[in-house]
Structures are given as structure tokens and as C-alpha cells.
């Protein structure tokens, strides 16, 4: 209980820090960039929306900084993220709502797949210590884990789209297709997802494999694993119930913590493939100087990471009686 309260406090604090960064950053930058933005969009946006923006970014207003800050926090808390400037009159909320399913589908599924698959390969590799898999794993996956996402995306496009014409490389579905719940459309979506998913999978899986392999090797040297062998337990049980179950505990937290990195990669991948998810819109907003959209997306990503950490906390508590007792 106490543990849960402390975690909640931490989440609120982090969220507040992210919000405050959003508020402070544009005001800190040399020659407040919001001024340029607002003058750029002056003609195309309703005066009312413009006024909200002025408060949000602290330009053309004589309110003291602190009251600007509280107005801003209030707006954020009540879901008033403002309008998107580049996609006007669409609101920021609408754009996000359209983008989330695509990112959740592509990035969420791929990330979980990479974690599960990578962890599994790591377990087996460490278990078969000295085998072929174990000996080729480290150098290969050290290198795959430093390949820039966007570059791998480009190379896959070159191979499978430009050279082989095997797969589409643009968008989340064929632009003339009508979205709907039918086989043709679903097949289309899957085809479009293959290359970006492969990009994310290849670049992230190495980390999970190596991390799991290394903790697993450390765990395999533990007395309780030796004890399990002495008890004559079946190998599968020793590997999963005694070694892997203990080895995975530190990695669960590691997984949630590094989700920020993974999402960074997802942004680039969506950008390269023009896959219209959260990351794509974030970069579009940055390039169009659409700061309200950019800020809201940054917040969204922060919340996503926090939720992931929360889930990993719960998973750890389920798997580890010691954390349960500590709370």
C-alpha cells in the first residue's frame, strides 16, 4: 500500500515535471519561438484560438508568469490542449485520437513481441551456455542494437520496396483504400506494417536478448539453481521456474525504463515510413512549428512510459514476493 502510494506520488511528480518542461522550454529559448509561430499562423486561426495560444506560450500577454502557469496547468488538466495550427481547424485531441491506434498497434505490439521473443532467446542462449547460439549472440546483437532505426528503415525500403517491389513503404494503408473491418483492408494494413515492424523488431530485440542472457548467466550461478539440479528437477522447470523467473525480475523494470528509448525509435520509424502515428505527427508538428500539437504529443508519450512502468511494477509485485512484503 505504502509502496503504491509512493509510486503514485512519483508518477504525479514526473507528469508535473513534463508539464513544466513544456511550459518553461519555449519561454527559455532565445527569442521565444512561439512569437514566430503565432505571427505565422495569424491569418488562418480564429482569434479565440489564438488567444488561448498566447496564454499557453506567454506571448502578447501581460499576465504574470505564475498566473500563466496555473492557467496552463488548468487547461492541461481539463483536456484543453488547444487547436493544431498546421491542421486547423482539427483540434490537437482529434489528431491524437486518430494517431493512437496506429502507434499502439504497430509500436505496442512490436515492442512486446520483441521483449517476449528477445527474452526467450536470451533464456535459451544462456541455458545452452557454450552452444552455437550462445557464442554468436553477443557480437551479432551488440551490432544490431546500435543500428539507427531510421537507417535500417531506409535500407529495408531500398531492398523490399524499391528493388523487389514486394512490400509497400509508405503510410499505414493504401491511400485509396476505404478503412473498414474487412479482410482486404486488414490484409492491406498488415502489409503496410511489415517493414516498419521489422525495423523496430530488428533494432530492439538485441537489447532484450543480451540483457536477459547476461542476467540469466548470473542467475544460473546462484545456489538455488544448483539446488534445483540437485533435486533432480526436469531441465525445463529449472530453466523457467528457478532461473528465468528470477532473472527476469530486474529486466521488467529495465523494460519499462527503456521504453522511452524505444518510443524514440518508433518516432523515427514512423517518420521514415510515413506511418501516421504519434511519432509521425510529432515530427510533422516540429517541422511545421505546430507547438501545441508537439507539446501534447510529448505529454502523451510521457504518460505512455509512466503507464508502462506502472504495469511493470504490478508484474514485478506479482512475480516477486519480496516486493509484495516490502510494500
Amino acid at each position: 500500500m505504502r509502496f503504491a502510494l509512493r509510486r503514485l506520488g512519483f508518477f504525479l511528480l514526473t507528469l508535473w515535471a513534463a508539464l513544466t518542461l513544456n511550459f518553461v522550454l519555449p519561454r527559455l529559448m532565445p527569442g521565444n519561438p512561439a512569437i514566430a509561430m503565432i505571427s505565422k499562423f495569424k491569418g488562418g486561426v480564429s482569434p479565440q484560438a489564438l488567444h488561448t495560444l498566447e496564454i499557453q506560450f506567454g506571448v502578447f500577454t501581460h499576465k504574470p508568469l505564475l498566473s500563466q502557469y496555473f492557467t496552463y496547468l488548468g487547461n492541461m488538466a481539463t483536456g484543453k490542449y488547444g487547436v493544431s495550427l498546421s491542421e486547423y481547424p482539427a483540434t490537437v485531441g482529434q489528431i491524437i485520437k486518430n494517431a493512437i491506434p496506429w502507434t499502439l498497434g504497430l509500436v505496442g505490439m512490436t515492442t512486446i513481441l520483441a521483449f517476449v521473443l528477445g527474452t526467450g532467446i536470451g533464456i535459451v542462449g544462456a541455458w545452452r551456455r557454450g552452444g552455437t547460439l550462445d557464442s554468436i549472440m553477443p557480437p551479432v546483437f551488440v551490432i544490431t542494437s546500435v543500428i539507427p532505426y531510421f537507417w535500417l528503415g531506409l535500407v529495408l525500403i531500398l531492398l523490399f520496396a524499391v528493388k523487389l517491389h514486394a512490400l509497400p513503404s509508405f503510410g499505414s494503408y493504401f491511400f485509396q483504400a476505404t478503412p473498414g473491418f474487412n479482410l482486404t483492408f486488414i490484409w492491406d494494413v498488415i502489409q503496410h506494417a511489415i517493414l516498419p515492424a521489422a525495423t523496430l523488431l530488428i533494432t530492439t530485440i538485441g537489447t532484450w536478448i543480451l540483457t536477459m542472457r547476461n542476467t540469466m548467466i548470473t542467475t544460473l550461478a546462484e545456489d538455488y539453481v544448483r539446488m534445483a539440479r540437485a533435486k533432480g528437477l526436469p531441465n525445463r522447470r529449472i530453466m523457467l521456474d528457478y532461473a528465468a523467473r528470477n532473472a527476469i525480475l530486474p529486466n521488467l523494470t529495465g523494460f519499462a525504463m527503456s521504453l522511452g528509448f524505444v518510443l524514440g525509435g518508433a518516432i523515427l520509424t514512423e517518420f521514415v515510413f510515413n506511418y501516421q502515428g504519434v511519432g509521425y505527427w510529432l515530427l510533422a508538428a516540429v517541422n511545421n512549428e505546430d507547438y501545441p500539437l508537439m507539446q501534447a504529443l510529448f505529454l502523451l508519450i510521457t504518460v505512455a512510459v509512466l503507464v508502462a512502468i506502472l504495469l511493470s511494477d504490478i508484474a514485478t509485485a506479482v512475480l516477486d514476493p519480496r516486493t509484495r512484503d516490502a510494500s
Binding site: P148, N214, R226
Partner: protein, 336 residues
């Protein structure tokens, strides 16, 4: 751009059997200062570990390229003086860009800014991480709580999106701005590691012994604690440098870098904008990308190798080394 998490860096486990054995020959180093001894050990370790040798070799090559680019590539990398989109030839080892610059010259000259950022971020982040991590661990109590909370919050806020946001406000980030921004956002991960090692050191009796002896806190931190953390400090540098290479090139690629600067990331940005694939200019994308991978691999291999050196259990096992000598070999080695 996924990250290698050195899971065992902080507490290297020694298998039971090893702990029971007396240490093997420790080699020379009796009459040297701790720093030289540490360097010698590191040199020896690099030579003995194949991953480390590769990493160090690659890094050395890039280092030389960055120091003396003019000796290798005589062309001015940004001068638009050639016909656009030439294929590789003796004159243009990698051909020319779609704008008419010599690609080989761009690759060679592009090494320097990446390395500057890598080393700048690596050193600056490590120094910050060391100060904050060790201070938190040594001071304990209130200050530890505050510094630790700061570290954790920064750790959880997604770094790359934050970088994009900051760079988006800044426009055209040059080398120095890149170093500052990446350092500001990125020191927290290694600070956490350094703190946890310093915390485990704090419980070690030799620090208590120094305190009982009457040493001042600053002496204890600088002379007694920091030298014992050398390997983690090196690991921290490597992690931060790697992260700087990947993040700075990514920012440049999406157009948030300084477009007038010749670097691998801006090459990729230009290539993408000029639809290099469609115009048959695959090299324009492949060459700088491979360089990023190679430089990143250099840091990552070194980092992984140091992890292996610190924790012998992770090292590759050479199978069947004794097969011919010991016919009555036990089957225990082949568990699984």
C-alpha cells in the same frame, strides 16, 4: 538505437567455485600508481578480449580520420564542384551526391563533428553523473533523496521526444548546442548506476576506516571513492558516447541539426530530401549509415567487452578444449 543495459556492471557476481579459489597470478604492476595500473590492466584486457580489440580498433580508425581528414580526402566536402549523382570511380571513391559534392570527402570530414559530439557528451555526462551519483550516495539522507528523485524523474521522461521538442524550438543545432542538449537530457541513466555503485562502496569498511582515521569528506570522495569506480566510469563514458552518436545523427537526419555542417546525419538528411533511392543513389544513404553503425558498434563492443572483463561468467566458453586430454571427461559440463 536500442540500448545495451549493462545489467551486471554494478555487482559482478563471482561463482561459488571461483570465490573459493585463491586468486591467480596478478601480473606486474607492483610499483606503479593506481591510474597507470588501471590503464595497463585496461590495455591488457582490450588485447585479450576480441570484442574489445575490434571496438578499440574501429574507434582508433575513426579517431585518426577525425584528426587528419585532409590527409585522406583532399576534396572540399561541401564544395559543389562536380557533376551530380556520379557513380563510384577512382576519382570519387563513393561517387558524388545528388548536389554534386564528393561523397568520400563528406564521409571523411563528417567524422569529426560526430566524434566531437560523442566525446563531448561522453565526458560532460559522465562528469555530471559522477558528481550527482557519488554526492547522492555519499551525502545520503535528504540530499540523496532529492538527487535521486531528480535522476529518476529525468530517467523516466522519454529522452528522444524531449530532445526533439528542445531541438524543435532551437532550430539548426550546431555541435555545441547538440552536446549541451544531449548532455542535459542524458546524464541520468549513468548517474543512477554510479550512485548504486557508490552506495555499495559506502558500506565497504575501507571508507569507514578512512573516516575513522579522520579524513575529510572531500578527500574521501576524490581519493578513496572515485579511483575505485574507474571501470564503471569508463562504462558510463562509453554508454553516453554511444547514445550521443545515435541521437545526434537522428536529430540531424530529421532536419533538426545544422544543415550547413558536413556530418553523417546531415548527409542522410540531404539524401532523403533528394530522394536518393529513387535516383539510384543508394550509396548516399548506405555509406553514412554504415559509418554510424560502425562507430556505434565501436562504443558498444567496448562497453560489452568491459562488462565481460568485469564479470568472467559472461565470457564466451570455449568448448571441448580438453576433449583429447581427458577421455574420462565428466558430462557435467553439458547440462541442458
Amino acid at each position: 538505437m536500442a540500448f545495451l543495459i549493462p545489467s551486471t556492471a554494478t555487482d559482478a557476481a563471482t561463482p561459488l567455485e571461483l570465490a573459493e579459489l585463491p586468486e591467480l597470478d596478478q601480473g606486474p604492476g607492483r610499483r606503479q600508481s593506481p591510474a597507470i595500473r588501471a590503464l595497463r590492466r585496461m590495455g591488457k584486457a582490450i588485447r585479450s578480449n576480441r570484442k574489445a580489440t575490434w571496438g578499440a580498433g574501429l574507434l582508433l580508425v575513426f579517431f585518426l580520420l577525425a584528426l587528419f581528414p585532409g590527409l585522406i580526402a583532399r576534396d572540399d566536402p561541401s564544395a559543389i564542384v562536380y557533376k551530380a549523382s556520379l557513380g563510384p570511380s577512382l576519382h570519387h571513391l563513393l561517387g558524388t551526391t545528388g548536389l554534386g559534392q564528393d561523397m568520400f570527402a563528406q564521409i571523411i570530414w563528417g567524422t569529426r563533428p560526430v566524434l566531437e559530439i560523442a566525446f563531448g557528451v561522453g565526458i560532460a555526462s559522465t562528469v555530471i553523473a559522477m558528481l550527482i551519483g557519488v554526492a547522492a550516495a555519499y551525502l545520503g539522507g535528504f540530499w540523496d533523496a532529492v538527487l535521486n528523485l531528480l535522476t529518476d524523474v529525468l530517467l523516466v521522461i522519454p529522452l528522444f521526444p524531449l530532445l526533439i521538442v528542445i531541438a524543435g524550438y532551437l532550430h539548426n543545432a550546431g555541435t555545441l548546442v547538440m552536446i549541451l542538449v544531449i548532455t542535459f537530457t542524458g546524464w541520468s541513466y549513468t548517474a543512477r548506476q554510479l550512485r548504486s555503485q557508490a552506495l555499495s562502496l559506502r558500506k565497504r569498511d575501507f571508507l569507514e576506516a578512512a573516516r575513522v582515521r579522520g579524513e575529510r569528506p572531500i578527500y574521501i570522495i576524490v581519493v578513496e571513492i572515485i579511483p575505485t569506480m574507474t571501470s564503471l566510469i569508463v562504462a558510463s563514458f562509453l554508454t553516453n558516447a554511444l547514445y550521443a552518436v545515435l541521437f545526434s545523427t537522428s536529430l540531424q537526419f530529421i532536419g533538426l541539426g545544422d544543415p550547413s555542417q558536413v556530418s553523417w546525419g546531415t548527409m542522410l538528411y540531404n539524401a532523403e530530401n533528394n530522394e536518393a533511392f529513387q535516383t539510384g543513389q543508394a550509396l548516399w544513404i548506405i555509406a553514412p549509415g554504415l559509418c554510424i553503425v560502425a562507430l556505434g558498434a565501436a562504443f558498444a563492443l567496448l562497453n560489452y567487452a568491459f562488462d565481460e572483463i568485469g564479470n568472467p561468467a559472461l565470457r564466451p566458453i570455449k568448448r571441448g578444449r580438453r576433449r583429447e586430454q581427458a577421455p574420462r571427461r565428466s558430462r557435467v559440463r553439458e547440462r541442458a
